[in-house]
């Protein structure tokens, strides 16, 4: 079912050669956005924007973005070497390709970076694409049959506090195994999401689509907010405070569903899409910034919380503070 949907999506992308219908990067203002109350949604100010609304954050079958549908936050450049926004040129000296990210001395994932800058040297687009290691022996629960691969639910990138309003989006590469981006936020703290155990297309009771900026937000350095590791999804409803995420202007968080192998929900997307953040920069080359990349397993099913921090390219002089 899922692969059929993907094939249809690929055909749709190939059949449209123009970028004219691209939805484009979405603005993530430092002041946040207003959101109204709804199902699984309290009213308030939020750091978050919904991107691909299909697939229930990867718990169900997602429909890939095309130039005509499911394309909020999506851009459609010809390839990763092409700027997703016109007027920007690639800084080829800053290309990084398949740099290993490790934990406990084992390769967990590989990151590819492409950076673009405008002709005035005032704005850059930082692109990062991460593929999971598919040969890993990582198994977060030995007592379950088979191998439980690391399931990445969020990638967060840091170093943007110098920009008031950044914009962000993603390029779903056709023909490979990319996850969509389900939501993106101007936030440091990722928020756990679980599906209704009886209907994978629905969010479980108490979980929130666009986490709001209060009234009670976790401490600034909190990597993941939620109910924690649970034996079965939906068994524990989160409190309102367990679904908030503060606006943190230095960070942009992309919610995805990426796994090196078959994960507990049956999904197999082993690659993140190319994820972009457009922010202010200078003529100085981007610099490697330790711990400005956060790879998080937030427990969509029974997974324990895992956070892998890595170096990433950022504006020269940027920091990875919360």
């Amino acid at each position: 079912m899922k692969s059929q949907l993907l094939k249809l999506a690929v055909i749709a992308v190939l059949g449209t050669s123009s970028q004219a219908f691209a939805t484009g990067l979405v603005s993530l203002p430092a002041a946040g956005l207003s959101v109204s109350a709804g199902t699984n949604q309290p009213a308030g100010t939020t750091a978050w924007v919904t991107c691909n609304a299909t697939g229930n954050y990867g718990a169900g079958s997602s429909t890939a973005p095309t130039t005509s549908a499911n394309n909020d936050c999506a851009v459609f450049p010809a390839n990763i070497n092409t700027s997703p926004v016109s007027g920007f040129s690639r800084i080829t000296l800053s290309d990084l390709t398949s740099v290993a990210i490790t934990a406990n001395g084992e390769n967990i994932a590989y990151m590819t970076s492409r950076t673009f800058r405008n002709t005035a040297n005032t704005e850059c687009i930082y692109g990062k694409q991460i593929s999971m290691d598919t040969s890993t022996t990582f198994d977060y629960n030995n007592s379950l049959a088979g191998q439980q691969y690391l399931e990445v639910n969020d990638f967060a990138f840091g170093g943007f506090s110098a920009t008031t309003d950044v914009s962000a989006g993603y390029y779903y590469r056709p023909g490979v195994s990319d996850s969509s981006v389900y939501r993106v936020g101007r936030a440091f703290t990722s928020v756990q999401m679980q599906a209704d155990p009886f209907d994978e297309t629905l969010v479980a009771s108490g979980f929130v689509h666009r986490p709001i900026n209060g009234p009670s937000v976790p401490a600034s350095g909190t990597e993941i907010n939620g109910v924690g590791q649970t034996a079965s999804p939906g068994a524990t409803a989160p409190t309102a405070a367990q679904q908030t995420s503060e606006i943190r202007t230095n960070w942009v968080d992309f919610t995805v569903d990426v796994t090196g192998g078959v994960d507990e929900d049956g999904g197999t997307e082993q690659d993140a899409p190319m994820m972009y953040v457009r922010a202010a920069c200078t003529s100085t080359a981007p610099a490697s910034l330790a711990n400005s990349v956060r790879i998080r397993q937030t427990g969509q099913e029974s997974q324990p919380w895992v956070t892998i921090l890595a170096s990433g390219l950022a504006r020269s002089g940027a920091n990875a503070n919360f």
């Binding site: 934990a103 406990n104 390769n107 022996t137 990582f138 629960n141 610099a287 324990p304 990875a320």
Partner: protein, 299 residues
Amino acid sequence: MKISCYLFGLVLCMHHLSASADVTNASQSGFVNLPATGNTNSAYVLCDTSTNFGLSEKNASNSNQSSVGQCAVSDDKLADSPMNAPLDGFTLVGIISRGVPIPEPYAAAGGEEFATLTDTVWHNNDTKECIFGTHILMKDQTLANGKRWEINDITRGGFSGRPVAIAYFMKPKPNKDYGMPEALFRAGRTYTSVPYDKTGLSLPALQGAPATTKAISKNQSAAVNDNWVDFTTDISFDDADGVTRKMTSMLYIKTTCDQRQPEEKDGAIRLRTTGGNGQEWLEIDVPGLVPFGATIEKY
């Protein structure tokens, strides 16, 4: 004389371990207790001393597990993946892997990642115990003085008032990208790291020890500090002594934890260069996981 006293202490320690092994699994022992008061004559116990504290190549670097000395855990599950628990009954609670930047002026520019430190926690719900795993992989970076960063000691805090047992797992085969891990030479219930003594005294004494808050000892002694555990090893991306091990073994601390989720505290882990090859002393503070409610002192 000193060594025999130490051995006597170890026998007591091993006896205690076997008594508690009914709960865990005797076949997977390797964990050695570090009493809160130290052993008879030292805050430390010796583990693998076959490489002369990393200064000489191991006789059989990819030898089987039976030759790696005490404190070593041997388990097929660990050979499969270091994310697996070193004892039965424990399940993974969480992992946090982070880059370790070196501040200026030791690094030419701040922000670059010199090593990757992985903190792993497993929990046993029946015994209310946690195992804290520590692993470091060095990266290809050079210090401002042109030398490579070398880590001789890793010190972790947060264990005051709790029983502590330590062990390590050394992968029997080299990693295709990062080579062989280094063994654990010794471990102590102390805040004080002790530079390797080329005269051969490898077990730091309690007698004549500096204050319990001293990071690196100037003589071959260290006082007990029950909030801290020190692991002595020897890693560098390119070691000046010619024997390069880019990563540590999996280093384990087993203790009690009433709550499954640990806490993260600034400065809970200290990475120290004690100058085995003439380097200047250096200590880098890193955040680390501690048992819930534990405290970390800043001396």
